[in-house]
Symmetry: C2
Subunit: 201 residues, 2 copies
Amino acid sequence: MRLAELAARSGLPTATIKYYLRAGLVPPGATEGATWARYDESHLRRLRLVRALTDVAGLALDEVRAVVAALDASGSQHEARGVAQWHLSPPVEEEPSEESRRQVEALLTRHGWDLEPESPHRRSLAAALDTLDELDFAATDEVLDAYAEAAASVAAVDVPRVTSETDPIVAAEKLIIGTLLYEPVLTTLRRMAHEADSVGR
Amino acid sequence: MRLAELAARSGLPTATIKYYLRAGLVPPGATEGATWARYDESHLRRLRLVRALTDVAGLALDEVRAVVAALDASGSQHEARGVAQWHLSPPVEEEPSEESRRQVEALLTRHGWDLEPESPHRRSLAAALDTLDELDFAATDEVLDAYAEAAASVAAVDVPRVTSETDPIVAAEKLIIGTLLYEPVLTTLRRMAHEADSVGR
């Protein structure tokens, strides 16, 4: 398709798409002459991903570039899913406490969750536990287990929709968008459940 | 306690506490003479709440003032919980589609969730469904049901910890802090569950 059709199908102005192309966030189209290039479904998907990363995740363009570069450099679906997801987690600046890190490791063991040694999620969770502790809201193992079971039950719904994709890049793009877009759904539903409980009393 | 002890126990500099007092985010202490005032546990809790709202929820001081004003003006625990929680949801600017709003109402009916007519959560969820739809990630009722069940299961753990409080303001403060602080725990656990699934393959 030509640029005009890519703009119409993505809902983005041509100027924005040209800007993303120049910034290297979207790969160039196939040159079809001096004045135009041909785009395909992969360009459309990439535009959706860039929009999700900027509008929904609130990433800066530099961070978006890191996510798409990690995606394009990865060899397998597992690697593509991992590295791209990791870039979504904001780096934790303060070193989490030894106690919270131990609580996270114990949780992973109890649930049989085997994460990569360099996964940033451990550190993110340990930092969140430290904040809870500082504000006198320390999470017990029982509470964390209930949360982990809820997380596993939504992941069981999320993952099959992604792994049915044979192209690793497509699968990773879908996982990133699904991860980001469904987070507000989950947190809003939790707030609704709190309110429904309060109304019910 | 005196201001110095309030600072030590809250971990906040006295200058910050004085600023919050002047801004009306924390009620004044009981005047005990020309040069000092007495503070109690309610001041300490309020400082924790203000810190959670600014640091964790990222609210501006004007928004924090609206939350604490709603809290102080409410008569019952239900009212305090409701109005304070509602202020945490960023207002949705674009009108959600009729279709998404119907999907939300059907979900509430299926799960027997009775929300207040003016609850902003309906609109937040409908807007999230519209974004999913625009990015070709439309949520089916089956997926939403799995998410709603997971949300209800964590709310079942959250709520008893709050409703054991007899003071409605204390209960509402705890609910707000718990709502905010446990959201990153839940979303990080979901990302961990995704990664554990990917490693497992």
